[in-house]
């Protein structure tokens, strides 16, 4: 049997579509964890990236923080947090947020910093206060790049949120971890397929959001 057979067997088994261990439930749980982590990471990364990018300072510090965040192993962090804090949502959120903040932070900083200076100077010359320069000039131009940072973070979260199952929570990772211990490759392959599908959905959502919110003028030049 090859991987495709396993996947077909998994998805054609009716038992996988119902109940607390059914695909709809696990999928919804996974989306829930991922969204929560992404929102928290964005709430940290976006404001800091916008402000530092606007003033063009602290790039080296941010790069250092980003490298450190990337270097910390998500899985190790999860185990450590479970040992320290016990089972629950918090020990799962901490590694996911640590994973997602660096791409958001660094891309946002780069995006705002690399905005063409002439419209920014023009806005200042028109007497716009700094906050309006940031939100009405720099932000719309930087938006496509900011989205690409959020997208990278979201894909990484979706793929890594599977580790939540290792500490007794749900999500699609349930199938992968359970399949590993039950030596049930059908489940593992099914779970992996679901995560990859969710990642593709994430890509599609980001494409749609950027179609809707990026100004046509910016889109054409970018």
């Amino acid at each position: 049997m090859n991987v495709l057979d396993f996947a077909r067997a998994f998805f054609s088994d009716g038992a996988h579509w119902h109940g607390y261990d059914g695909i709809p439930t696990r999928f919804a749980e996974h989306v829930g964890y991922s969204l929560e982590a992404l929102v928290i990471a964005a709430a940290i990364g976006l404001p800091v990236g916008l402000v530092t990018g606007h003033y063009g300072r602290g790039g080296n510090t941010l790069a250092l923080i980003a490298t450190a965040g990337r270097a910390l192993p998500s899985f190790g962090l999860l185990v450590l947090m479970v040992i320290w804090l016990g089972l629950g949502m918090l020990p799962v959120m901490i590694p996911l947020v640590v994973l997602a903040v660096p791409p958001i932070l660094v891309t946002t900083y780069e995006a705002v910093r690399s905005v063409d200076p002439s419209p920014v100077d023009a806005a200042r010359g028109m007497g716009m206060p700094e906050a309006r320069v940031l939100f009405q000039v720099e932000l719309p131009v930087a938006l496509p790049l900011i989205y690409s940072g959020l997208r990278t973070a979201a894909i990484q979260i979706v793929s890594t949120a599977t580790i939540a199952a290792y500490v007794s929570l749900g999500g699609i990772g349930r199938y992968i971890i359970d399949g590993l211990y039950q030596k049930d490759y059908e489940k593992v392959v099914g779970g992996a397929t679901l995560v990859a599908a969710l990642a593709l959905v994430t890509l599609a959502v980001f494409w749609a959001v950027s179609r809707l919110t990026v100004s046509p003028g910016v889109r054409r030049s970018g």
Partner: protein, 217 residues
């Protein structure tokens, strides 16, 4: 009590032994990824239509969680280091191919024309003009690939203790010695930052023509 760097004997390695094992398991895949991605990227530059599908395939591969990848590969390679290294090599492709393509494409056409006018053939032009100019972009990709590879090896613990430093996490749980988990996480983090630093140094050595100001990025 035992010291911070004294490991339980079931790990079958000293602390430094685990560090060595970890580096090998993390760096060999990146090297393999680099060797594969150079020709792939060159193909993508030569034949533009290949690039979008290649990018699509690698993005989907990247979305597959490392653990699922490991477990599926157990069927082919057993619970071995190879099972851990194959997915890591594939992940590094995802980062390296676009980095190299962007780097090689960023070479100005005048430079290429000048090389051609000097009588450079395609091979020499690639090795002596395009590749050196693409070095900063390639190293930027290598930094991301290397650091994430070092941190992902630890997941290998779940498939029969193939996670090098990550194996300490299992012992930390079973023996309730949280210091082991702290040690594992910190050591992996420090290794990642050090590897990143080494790559920055390599870039500085390889690109003496670049302006030194803002060398951090």
């Amino acid at each position: 009590m035992s010291g911070f760097f004294d490991l339980p004997s079931d790990l079958q390695h000293s602390y430094l032994g685990l560090v060595g094992l970890h580096l090998r398991e993390a760096l060999l895949p990146v090297l393999a990824g680099l060797i594969v991605s150079l020709p792939v990227a060159q193909l993508c530059v030569r034949f533009r239509w290949i690039y979008p599908p290649v990018l699509g395939v690698t993005t989907v591969l990247y979305a597959i969680p490392s653990l699922a990848f490991f477990v599926v590969l157990i069927d082919y390679f057993g619970q071995s280091e190879t099972t851990v290294m194959v997915p890591l090599a594939l992940y590094s492709l995802v980062v390296l191919v676009p980095a190299i393509v962007d780097g090689v494409r960023s070479v100005p056409p005048e430079t290429l024309a000048a090389a051609q006018a000097m009588g450079f053939g395609p091979v020499r032009r690639y090795l002596q003009v395009q590749l050196p100019i693409a070095v900063p972009a390639i190293i930027a990709g290598l930094r991301v690939a290397t650091v994430s590879s070092i941190s992902l090896v630890s997941v290998g613990m779940l498939i029969g203790n193939q996670g090098a430093l990550g194996n300490m996490l299992y012992d930390a749980q079973t023996y309730e010695r949280s210091a082991l988990a702290v040690n594992s996480v910190l050591t992996i983090g420090v290794l990642g930052v050090l590897a990143d630093g080494v790559l920055v140094l390599v870039r500085l050595l390889l690109t003496p023509w670049m302006p030194r100001k803002g060398a951090g990025r």
